[in-house]
């Protein structure tokens, strides 16, 4: 028996969903036009007024928003309500080092929590469950999103946040956690540790909701077997709300996009042309119910496919595939967005040469980020201690920029390949897509 949070919405007829979308889109475009001068200017540039957008059929007429727009409009330029109406800020990394900040009214938090509640119930969650959230809390949307969703379901919520594996496992055993929410790589690490310590019989987990980074079907099977659970994917991005923009159901075949809140399009990343259903392209979202930070036609840079076939779970909302790649150079490491340009900014600020290489690998299911920098006469010292102090300073600066730990490796001069034209800055050895 399938488990729903809002069955009347999740299983609504396609006609009903379309009706909601048409109404809400027209209203939202007017709201943005009236309150966000930055976007109004973009619309005027294209010669469009809110009256031109009557239904989803007109969506393609609207201008796109990109991460560069968010940077340019930072921090308040895309805010559509008075700041006094906002109750929360969440943040994620931006392109050249400037962070993206997203604002939420109480209404926005409620709808975000609803989306996460749908995901938890799709994974079988009820008020009798113990939801163990070890996504990071704080500015990162992972923790707060699943936490809010779990409250809505009425489950007992364990706000563990990330890290401290010993404590995670102890609480899991002692308090009988039944649903685990974290990044898939951390789930794999927990699974391995639990099996190694012979604690498989001590845990009561039945499901896992894993997102914020790419993972394969092999990884799913591995975690499901080791923990004796069913593992569900969840997708989201801070710009649109956070986790729960889409989520997997019992069919485990793609993630249902919450279409009553977000309209999805697939476009050709090169031309911006809308592609027909079933074609692979860049995912674009339009937020039709949010008040504070309503992005219209936001380009996610995630490459995926939409599937409108009927789903065995009974939900009628469109399904998206797992992201199959990116149309920009963003990396997702340990669930955190990392842009090579951020690393470059830190290196240049610290007086290092711009010749560097980023190597991402996955060891024991955990992502590792290594930044290789060439030694220079200015950085060199006869004292290992001095070099190590500088190295630590660089690690600290990278950590405060990226939010995650990067290993710094000093290499001999002229050993990082300088290819003609564009240098190969990033080597991703994880084979994610």
């Amino acid at each position: 028996m399938e488990n729903y949070y809002q069955p009347e919405v999740e299983c609504a007829s396609r006609e009903q969903i379309r009706k909601w979308q048409d109404e809400r889109l027209a209203k939202q475009v007017k709201h943005v036009y009236d309150n966000v001068p930055y976007y109004r200017a973009k619309m005027e540039e294209k010669g469009i007024v809110p009256e031109d957008i009557k239904s989803v059929d007109d969506l393609h007429k609207l201008p796109f928003l990109t991460k560069e727009d968010l940077r340019e409009a930072y921090p308040y330029g895309l805010l559509a309500v008075p700041l006094s109406d906002c109750v929360r800020i969440q943040s994620t990394s931006g392109t050249t080092g400037r962070r993206v900040v997203a604002f939420y009214t109480q209404h926005d938090l409620d709808l975000w929590d609803d989306c996460c509640a749908r995901a938890i119930m799709a994974a079988g969650g009820t008020k009798d469950d113990v939801v163990h959230v070890c996504y990071g809390y704080g500015l990162f949307t992972g923790g707060p999103g699943l936490n809010g969703g779990s409250h809505k379901v009425g489950s007992l919520t364990l706000p563990m946040s990330s890290g401290n594996t010993d404590r995670q496992i102890q609480f899991m055993c002692d308090l009988g956690s039944t649903i685990l929410c974290c990044t898939p790589s951390y789930a794999a690490y927990l699974a391995e540790t639990i099996c190694e310590r012979g604690l498989r019989d001590k845990i009561k987990l039945k499901a896992g909701i894993f997102g914020a980074e790419a993972w394969s079907e092999e990884m799913r099977r591995d975690v499901e077997e080791k923990l004796g659970i069913r593992a569900y994917d969840i997708y989201g991005l801070t710009e649109i709300s956070g986790p729960g923009v889409s989520f997997e159901c019992s069919a485990q075949g793609g993630m249902h996009i919450n279409e009553d809140h977000f309209i999805a399009e697939i476009i050709d990343p090169a031309t911006g042309e809308v592609l027909p259903d079933g074609e692979k392209g860049e995912l674009v979202f339009t937020s039709i119910t949010k008040e504070a930070f309503p992005l219209l036609r936001y380009r996610t840079r995630d490459i995926c496919v939409l599937n409108r076939e009927k789903c065995s779970c009974g939900r009628t909302h469109v399904r998206m595939s797992k992201p199959m790649g990116r149309s920009d150079d963003m990396l997702i490491v340990k669930g955190v967005n990392v842009f090579p340009s951020q690393i470059e900014t830190v290196l240049l600020n610290k007086g290092y040469p711009a010749n560097y290489q980023i190597i991402v690998s996955r060891e024991k299911n955990s992502d590792k980020l290594e930044v290789q920098v060439e030694m220079t006469p200015e950085m060199f010292s006869d004292s290992i201690r001095e070099i190590e102090v500088r190295e630590r300073e660089l690690i600290e600066a990278l950590k405060s920029m990226l939010g995650i730990y990067a290993v710094v490796k000093l290499v001999a001069p002229k050993t990082i390949a300088r290819s003609e034209g564009k240098a190969k800055r990033v080597i991703d050895n994880r084979n994610l897509y």
Partner: protein
């Protein structure tokens, strides 16, 4: 009253020392002493050479990052107790030794200690006052005549 030590950055991986030794050999530069300090990823090779200035030029031409450091060289007799005596002087004068390495020179019954200390001037003064004279570059060359 110091001697010139060449410090060279090398990665901690196979073949790096061979490459450096070959570069010096091709330019007929002889090593008198060598010490290697290592970390997980890299090392610093410290060298006392017969021709430090030429060596720096050669190493830079080969693409190495290197620097010249002034270190103390002290000749001691090759018998028990002589190192302790020198160290005692430095210790009594609160002079910290960062690192040290030793080699035996061409002169019979003599060993040579290379010392990197916190304060060269202070160390030279304390040692000289106690009858231990640090070697200068020429003195070092003399040991090989």
């Amino acid at each position: 009253m110091t001697v010139k030590q060449i410090s060279v950055f090398v990665e901690n991986k196979p073949g790096m020392l061979a490459e450096l030794a070959n570069a010096l050999n091709e330019n007929k530069i002889n090593m008198r002493a060598l010490s290697l300090a290592e970390t997980k990823d890299f090392g610093i090779i410290r060298l006392i050479l017969d021709d430090p200035f030429n060596a720096v030029r050669v190493l830079k031409d080969c693409g190495y990052v290197c620097s010249i450091t002034k270190v103390l060289a002290i000749a001691i007799s090759n018998q028990p107790g002589s190192l302790g005596k020198v160290m005692q002087i430095l210790g009594d004068n609160q002079i910290n030794v960062e690192y040290t390495y030793a080699f035996t020179a061409g002169v019979k019954d003599k060993a040579c200690m290379i010392l990197r200390v916190g304060d060269n001037e202070k160390a030279i003064e304390a040692l000289t006052k106690n009858g231990v004279k640090p070697l200068c570059q020429d003195d070092l060359d003399e040991l090989y005549r």
